[in-house]
């Protein structure tokens, strides 16, 4: 077969594959959003859930999901960033590093229920945090670290070595080179990693059932003092997230409109992830422009 022909065939095949994927993904998203759309209104988004009567909303769960995401990222991002920098910039290429890498990859294959039970025994029972957002955030940190570390490491590796040499040639120390030159340049792809992991945090249920709990006590949205039990900001209160709520009403829900609430909540979840992605990209772009003076 001559190279030109194979080039054409490959080209066509790639277009076909990409088109097919877009089709699957679009069908999936369309299905979720269209089945959930009839439920979406202000009332649904703001009222608390009901246990056994129709007309419940997802207000508290929605807030919990975002709050938990924020806390988890606050804990896991610095750790993953540090580990990613060390692995890519400092770690010698020997068997110890390889063992560490393998260990991190293995962690990501653990079923989330195992991570959840580990978090339950350590944080909820041993450290006496109880069923709380904090326990949930720590459990999700375990869950989130492998993927995040790996993607930060890859993003750093993608920055060409000439940039590092440039920094060193200007008399910067290695650490300064990394923080001032490499990190800003790698920002867009680090952001992709964060967004991907944020999506997983949003959608995770099994790890949270035993840690953040599956009940959403009423919150007082006028009370922003984090030390009060009914305050939305209190990290020590039990908090059911949106994904856990979807899981719960699908498995044991007895409200008459369980199916509608479930599809409505799924659509809200997908839209939240979308909003989060757009926001993160927008902020990331501004930050990137500011840090690298790129246009």
């Amino acid at each position: 077969m001559n190279p030109k022909l194979s080039n054409k065939i490959a080209n066509g095949a790639l277009y076909g594959i990409a088109g097919f994927i877009v089709l699957i993904l679009a069908a999936l998203l369309g299905y979720i959003i269209i089945t959930g759309l009839p439920m979406l209104n202000w009332h649904f988004l703001t009222t608390p859930a009901r246990a056994f009567t129709a007309g419940g909303g997802i207000g508290i769960q929605l807030f919990n999901s975002f709050y938990l995401l924020l806390l988890t990222l606050l804990i896991s991002f610095p750790i993953a960033l540090g580990a990613g920098i060390y692995l890519n910039e400092y770690a010698p290429n020997n068997w110890v590093t390889n063992v560490v890498r393998t260990a991190i990859e293995i962690l990501s294959s653990l079923p989330s229920v195992v991570v959840g039970l580990f978090g339950f025994l350590i944080f909820v029972v041993q450290f006496d945090f109880g069923f709380s957002i904090l326990s949930g955030a720590f459990a999700l940190t375990f869950f989130n670290l492998p993927l995040l570390t790996r993607s930060i490491e890859e993003s750093l590796a993608a920055i060409s070595n000439t940039q590092r040499e440039g920094g060193l040639a200007l008399g910067l120390s290695k650490w300064e080179t990394v923080t001032r030159i490499i990190l800003p340049a790698a920002l867009p792809s680090i952001l992709t990693g964060v967004i991907l992991s944020a999506g997983r945090i949003f959608g995770e249920a099994a790890a949270l059932i035993f840690t953040a709990g599956q009940s959403a006590p009423a919150l007082d949205f006028t009370d922003w003092n984090p030390f009060n039990i009914s305050s939305p900001l209190n990290p020590m209160r039990p908090a059911e997230t949106l994904a856990v709520h979807i899981w719960k009403i699908n498995s044991e829900g007895i409200m008459p409109d369980a199916k509608a609430v479930s599809s409505g909540a799924s659509a809200v979840l997908v839209i939240s992830v979308l909003v989060f992605n757009i926001l993160a990209r927008f902020i990331g772009k501004r930050l990137y422009q500011k840090l690298t003076s790129a246009k």
Binding site: A51, F52, T53, V124, V125, G130, F131, I209, F210, G213, Q214, S215, P217, A218, N225, P226, F227, N228, I229, P238, K248, I249, N250, S251, E252, G253, I254, A258
Partner: protein, 290 residues
């Protein structure tokens, strides 16, 4: 550079001041005003709803209700990590639990019924037929007078309270052959409703229009038949405490067993009130007059 230092300092100061102010003005909740109940997902809605009502009436108390399964509830109450362990089964029936260290509080009764897909064409079965179906000796609905359709068995997960009750009282102790398993009632109902030839079992409150409930030995699955034990497939919902429960735990359990909750929430959630039962049953299965 200077300016950004100042801004950082101000931000830190503001956080510290707000933090202390918040801590000083917090509403103090005493440790003995919060209790945690963990366990059975089937019982969770009832305890949760009752807990909300109770907290509404007694300001400052907080009832934290979580699921996790009957096994989790029993092992955590045994460890002393929680105040109440919710369970679908007697503690004696659960392996690894020292039941004499726990106190049983029966708060509701739940009836369980076999359900089948609506299109199998069978509405009545006998116990012998049911056993044949679940042990795999009958494999097609036509053998039972229904349509020509292979039987698809669906079980609850091993160790689940519903499955233990069903195997004990509906299959007379016979073990189901290995088959599909699901771990929640909602999922079981969904699968039975959509899979041709499917049969499984759920609590009464889950048997809705989408599936066909079975009349067993001529007795239909109703609350009235459970109360007289004519329908034998039912179980208690238990709330286990330690031998020396705290004051709030005691008060809360009395509240759930009170006539008010038994007459309102218990019924609304599809359970049968313990007070309405004409018979009682102990762990060994002996039925007595009440």
């Amino acid at each position: 550079m200077r300016k950004s230092r100042w801004i950082q300092l101000v931000i830190v100061l503001v956080i510290v001041v707000l933090g202390t102010a918040g801590y000083v003005t917090r509403k103090t909740t005493h440790a003995d005003m919060t209790i945690t109940a963990v366990g059975s997902t089937a019982l969770q809605p009832l305890v949760e709803a009752a807990g909300e009502e109770y907290s509404g009436q007694h300001l400052g108390t907080f009832i934290n209700v979580q699921g996790g399964g009957s096994g989790t509830g029993l092992s955590q109450i045994q460890e002393g990590a929680v105040d109440i362990g919710n369970s679908d089964v007697f503690a004696e029936e659960q392996k690894g639990i020292k039941a004499n260290r726990l106190v049983d509080h029966r708060v509701a009764v739940v009836g369980i019924t076999p359900i089948v897909n609506k299109k199998v064409g069978v509405k009545r079965l006998t116990t012998a037929q049911l056993i044949k179906i679940f042990t795999g000796r009958v494999t097609n609905w036509s053998q039972l007078g229904g349509r020509h359709q292979p039987i698809v068995l669906l079980n609850r997960a091993q160790g689940s309270g519903t499955r233990m009750t069903f195997e004990r009282w509906a299959l007379k102790g016979a073990r189901s052959k290995p088959a599909q398993e699901q771990d929640s009632s909602g999922m079981v109902r969904q699968i039975v409703a959509t899979t041709p030839g499917a049969i499984s079992y759920v609590g009464f409150s889950y048997a809705d229009q989408s599936v066909q409930a079975i009349t067993l030995n001529g007795v239909s699955p109703t609350d009235e038949n459970v109360k007289t034990n004519r329908w034998p497939i039912w179980s208690y919902e238990h709330m286990y405490t330690s031998r020396t429960p705290g004051p709030l735990t005691q008060r809360f359990i009395r509240y759930i067993q009170s006539a008010h909750i038994q007459r309102t929430l218990v019924k609304q959630l599809g359970y049968i009130s313990v007070a309405d039962m004409h018979v009682s049953r102990d762990v060994s299965g002996r039925v007595g007059e009440k």
